[in-house]
Amino acid sequence: MSEEVRGALEALAPKLGGAGATVSDLQRLSGGASMETWAFAVDGPRGREEMVLRRRTAPMDPSESRSVTLAMEAALISLAGERGAPVAPLVHLAAPEDGLGEAHITRRVAGETLGRKIVSDPRFEAIRPTLAGQCGEILAKIHAAPPPSGLKTVDALQDLARYEEVYRQSGAERPILELAIQHLKKHRPPPIEPVLLHGDFRNGNLMIDPEKGVAAVLDWELSHCGDPAEDLGWICVNSWRFGRADRPVGGFGDYEQLLKGYARAGGREIPLSRVLYWQALGSLKWGVMCLLMYGSYASGTEKSVERPMIGRRVSETEIDLVTLLENGL
């Protein structure tokens, strides 16, 4: 696998880094069941450039999947960059003759993505109070971009229906998840004009620089159109506050900073109650995803010890959902 990727990148090197460019330090960053991420460097006339390759290793059914194609991801990265959102710039979208399959290559932006470090490491102490406001500004810019054609639109009820179906199919009986599904169905916010969403905007998908703050918004795979409060609420889900539950935005900031940043960059006014609705729906979705990942162990599809253990994270979403309901959601 590694030699196949290395060979393809070496052949592509002149396109990536100019005449005579070479590839070095190829290293696999992560690999799931269907997607691989590799880091590598290109040395050419412009000097050394760090890059990241993302490639799909198993076919995807675009009508079934929540994910967009890598070509769509590439288009979204470029679009967001043009609108002033920080991204890892696109270097190359793979063509069939490149021998990489469905793949794209971006610059590798320096910084930290590990949520726990971002919320607790002293290196981020100075920048931390500005991060929630930056996130609001960035989301306003993304939400103002014209959505590329071919993106799905999903509203709260459709999103709930999808996760309710996964929950039903899991066979699990969890009263708190059932209560949350029914409550969120009954109390959905008034309809709103759909906008372009990142779809997975949370601490963990943000490259944070200790001096500048948000250096790049990563992982555009779940982008779609929908309620702007979906993105605003998702980064507030307690499961990505990494122990700093007292700082609702990503474990680094508060709701007011996020919403002020959003308004500052021209975002429409969003009431906190709408953000809290989507935060609760986010906790529910994460709980159902944990059940789904456990299900892949139970069915024998995945054998890693990670899979059954993630099933024990459902209760974290349940305690948060009960609290949100008690708080008056």
């Binding site: 009986e173 969890r174 009263p175 708190i176 059932e178 209560l179 029914q182 409550h183 009954k186 307690n238 506050r241 122990g243 700093r244 539950a245 007292d246 890693s304 010890v305 990670e306 059954p308 253990m309 024990r312 994270r313 209760s315 974290e316 349940e318 305690i319 948060d320 009960v322 609290t323 949100l324 309901l325 008690e326 708080n327 008056g328």
Partner: protein
């Protein structure tokens, strides 16, 4: 039940051994070893706290539903009533019972988890 050793001592010993070899592993295996040791910690807590937690949860569900039954039967009935809309957030005693049950569950699953802060005055 055999007590020399008790089951929780066995899983404790294995978890301690995994922790002792972790530093020598490659990053991926070191990560999985940490997950494995955590899994054994869950098993240990469930062995120690599980029976009392389930008994308490069953008693709370029985009171809420005003009938007796096993934990699975009562859970199933509560889910059906919530789904049908016979009970909802405002049903007296519902949130209190669910909170007490999930607090005991998370004490087994993930005792270090810091939950969403309560904003009730």
């Amino acid at each position: 039940m055999i007590e020399h050793p008790r089951a929780e001592e066995l899983v404790e010993a294995v978890a301690a051994w995994i922790d002792s070899v972790r530093p020598g592993l490659n990053p991926r295996d070191a990560f999985l070893a940490r997950v494995a040791a955590n899994a054994l910690s869950v098993v240990r807590r469930e062995l120690l706290q599980g029976p009392a937690a389930e008994a308490a949860a069953t008693a709370r569900l029985a009171e809420l539903l005003d009938r007796q039954g096993s934990h699975a039967e009562l859970t199933s009935e509560l889910c059906a009533r919530l789904r049908a809309g016979d009970m909802d957030r405002d049903t007296p005693g519902l949130l209190a019972a669910l909170r007490a049950n999930v607090e005991e569950q998370i004490a087994i699953d993930q005792p270090s988890y810091v939950p969403e802060p309560s904003r009730r005055s």
